[in-house]
């Protein structure tokens, strides 16, 4: 009896091993690309961050000097601060607005009006950020649409060059991000709401719950996963923003809209200081991970 089991076990083991092998074989193409375009550049970036190098000529090992500069240079630290302010506009506003809009659209009768509003809300998402930045900078100009509207309704005193004003420039570029990301949030939340068991809604309604009660007890818990995903995506978008700022304010006026993305680009490509740019890039990556990983953990814990 023993003799009959042993070969069967061996065969099963071999089959399992073959399964693992073919599994690896299938993932090889993806792994190769991942290694070549993500892992390898990341390791290079880490290596560069310890050197003083202009990108072309000879390099010099400088240890932690670049990292010390990142944490002591007030301009670089200021740009990180601005990126955190942007989280309010890239994450808080779109996710909140998306939740409300999705609930409203959901409560509408399905028909041309609800699909039209979905399409309109999603439109900004398919426009390249660079193009959105240019269009918005025209609207924000002294003679642009926003000031024209303000003048027309008698609020001309509020009119100002929104992107050229030290107080309003950062919120103004932030709102462009809100405008772009709200559509994405709404559409994702809509599909999420669709997956929530309708009987739950019926149950709370029978208990006489208000719209608000329904929203808090059924919709939000039901959308936990979507909220986690969107908060993650939008925080990354805020901390690594580049294109909107580059096409509107270039970081100005002064340094009021300077973000790490613009700083890294300038240090690396204009000033040809590849080492410092790499160090700042690595710090930014760690910062993004530090913000995003706890959210992932929270979402996983609460879904259990």
């Amino acid at each position: 009896m023993k003799s009959s089991i042993a070969p069967r076990r061996a065969a099963a083991k071999a089959a399992a091993r073959r399964g693992t092998l073919s599994g690896w074989a299938f993932s090889v193409p993806a792994l190769v690309f991942y290694a070549a375009f993500v892992i390898y550049p990341l390791i290079l970036g880490i290596q560069y961050s310890f050197y003083k190098w202009n990108g072309v000529g000879p390099s010099e090992f400088v240890g932690l000097k670049n990292y010390i500069r990142v944490f002591t240079d007030s301009t670089l630290l200021g740009s990180i601060g601005n990126a955190f302010v942007l989280i309010a506009f890239f994450t808080l506003i779109p996710v909140t607005a998306g939740l409300v809009l999705a609930t409203l659209i959901r409560s509408m009768r399905p028909g041309p009006f609800s699909s039209l509003s979905q399409t309109i809300l999603f439109l900004p998402q398919i426009i390249p950020l660079a193009a959105a930045g240019i269009a918005w900078s025209w609207m924000y100009a002294q003679t642009g649409a926003i000031n024209q509207v303000l003048n027309a309704i008698g609020l001309g005193a509020l009119a100002r060059p929104w992107l050229g004003d030290f107080q309003t420039a950062l919120p103004a570029v932030g709102l462009i991000g809100s405008w772009v990301l709200t559509g994405l949030c709404t559409v994702l939340f809509l599909t999420g709401i669709g997956k929530i068991d309708q009987s739950l809604y019926e149950a709370v309604r029978l208990d006489g719950a208000s719209w608000w009660r329904e929203f808090i007890t059924i919709t939000i818990p039901g959308l936990r996963q979507e909220i986690a995903v969107l908060v993650t995506i939008t925080i990354i978008a805020a901390l690594s923003s580049f294109d909107i700022i580059y096409t509107t304010t270039l970081g100005g006026p002064g340094r009021s809209t300077l973000v790490p993305g613009i700083s890294i680009y300038r240090i690396g490509f204009t000033q040809s200081n590849v080492g410092l740019a790499s160090a700042f890039g690595i710090v930014l990556m760690i910062l993004v991970l530090a913000c995003v990983l706890p959210i992932q953990r929270l979402a996983r814990a609460s879904s259990k």
Binding site: L44, Q47, G57, P58, L163, G252, P253, G254, S272
Partner: protein, 450 residues
């Protein structure tokens, strides 16, 4: 068994990753990044143009059509030589230049506003052998000096690494319609007179100075003001990175304070930090503003848009009868050390400076003198035109030895990293002239130190 397999799989992931990372790190740590500059192609210098078919590549700035027109004319005269001109914005081109030059197929000719490390890294060709072969020693040395780099990497003397396609000069454009309405019948000749005109305009509700600072062009005004209180050589040394040179001079502080006082009095547009170069030029040409600070490159276009209603003159001096100082520079181009057509591209550069048609094109398109041998006949210009005025201004600056480079060209990163953000604060009255000067100097020292 199932459990142990999962465990094995769990363990294998990180182990494999660590192994990959470790191998890669080992492979990388064996060599520091960079260090293999392209070897300059070894060619015999020749002043004869080849008869073979050749395609020359040029990387140039967007918005400056000069190279297109010169290339077309050259191909007309020498059909075997054709051109491939690519363009990018000033910012993008400066950022990409070292990588373009270090590639296996560098552009033969490239617009290179800041030399940076390109000479030390062996990326651009030393033109001395051709200078000797073509006899460029007859050319104006004042124009060639800023295009030289010595063995210590300092500009201003040493071997020739660049040539200019047109030499710019800057000044003030005045809207004559506004001037007449204000009773200004002559261009101001001192800063005091200029300030009187500014006050007149402000009082009459006309914008005194049209300027923009989204992309830093208000620094035409800032540097123009500094120039009037400074020894031009001091500023030039600073721009050329001569060791010991400083930006923190009493003259620079005085000039920056003057600009701050103009900001305090509301002489600039209220949305100045949202206006870019193209906007301020078109707004001035559309009639907004009494004065604007700009260069000869805008002369032909401004004349076309404003006709007779515009004047162009050198920035007035601090004292009556003082020497004029103006920003001006060669629109500098370099030849890639790795170019496969060194003789051909240098022949083209020499042709631009010596061929009468080419020299005429340079003046027509840029409003600038074509440079080269001063004894050669100068291009013809329409009498009374802005270009004629621009050429006369260049001559005055040449005679009074008052040319300084643009401070934005001091280092690769100083314009975007310091001059633009600090000037945005200065022209909105948030920092003093001394703060502006100190901060720019700090950034300069830090960037040069690496």
């Amino acid at each position: 068994m199932a459990i142990s397999r999962t465990r094995a799989r769990l363990a294998r992931g990180p182990v494999a990753l660590t192994a990959i990372a470790a191998t890669a790190l080992l492979a990388l740590s064996a060599c520091a990044p960079g260090g293999n500059a392209p070897v300059a192609s070894d060619v015999d210098v020749s002043t004869e143009l080849t008869t073979e078919d050749v395609v020359l590549t040029i990387a140039d700035e967007t918005g400056f059509p000069l190279t297109d027109e010169l290339a077309a004319e050259f191909t007309k005269q020498h059909p075997n030589v054709t051109f491939n001109v690519t363009r990018d914005t000033f910012q993008n081109l400066t950022a990409a230049a070292p990588k373009l030059l270090a590639s296996d197929t560098p552009p033969d000719l490239i617009r290179l506003p800041t030399i940076g490390d390109t000479v030390q890294d062996g990326l651009i060709a030393n033109l001395d052998p051709w200078a000797e072969a073509y006899g460029w020693d007859k050319w104006s040395e004042a124009q060639l000096a800023p295009l030289r780099v010595n063995e210590d990497g300092v500009r201003g003397s040493g071997s020739l690494y660049q040539l200019g396609l047109g030499y710019s000069v800057t000044g003030i454009y005045m809207n004559k319609t506004h001037a007449e309405a204000l009773g200004i019948d002559e261009v101001p000749t001192t800063i005091a007179e200029f300030e009187e005109d500014l006050a007149l305009a402000k009082e009459a509700g006309i914008l005194p100075i049209m300027a923009g600072d989204l992309d830093g062009v208000v620094n035409f005004v800032v540097q123009a003001a500094m120039n009037q209180y400074n020894d031009p050589k001091e500023m030039m040394d600073w721009i050329l990175n001569v060791p010991g040179a400083t930006y923190d001079t009493p003259g620079n502080v005085k000039g920056a304070d003057l600009v701050r006082s103009w900001a305090d009095k509301g002489y600039f547009p209220s949305d100045i930090n949202a206006i870019d170069y193209a906007s301020f030029v078109s707004r001035f040409q559309g009639g907004e503003g009494l004065f604007t600070f700009n260069g000869n490159w805008a002369a032909a276009d401004t004349q076309a848009k404003m006709g007779e209603n515009v004047d162009f003159f050198l920035v007035p001096t601090a004292e009556e009868g003082g020497n004029h100082v103006a920003m001006g520079a060669a629109n500098s181009f370099s030849v890639a050390a790795g170019s496969k057509h060194l003789n051909e591209i240098v022949y083209f550069l020499n042709w631009i400076h010596t061929d009468p048609t080419a020299r005429q094109i340079v003046t027509d398109v840029t409003g600038a003198a074509p440079g080269g041998d001063p004894a050669q006949e100068q291009p013809t210009v329409e009498p009374g035109s802005l270009i004629e005025k621009a050429l006369a201004m260049s001559a005055v600056i040449g005679a009074e030895n008052g040319q300084v480079d643009f401070m934005a060209n001091a280092t690769a990163g100083i314009y975007a990293g310091s001059i633009i953000p600090e000037s945005q604060l200065l022209v909105t009255s948030q920092i003093t002239g001394q703060e502006f000067v100190t901060r720019v100097q700090e950034f300069y020292a830090q960037e040069l130190a690496g």
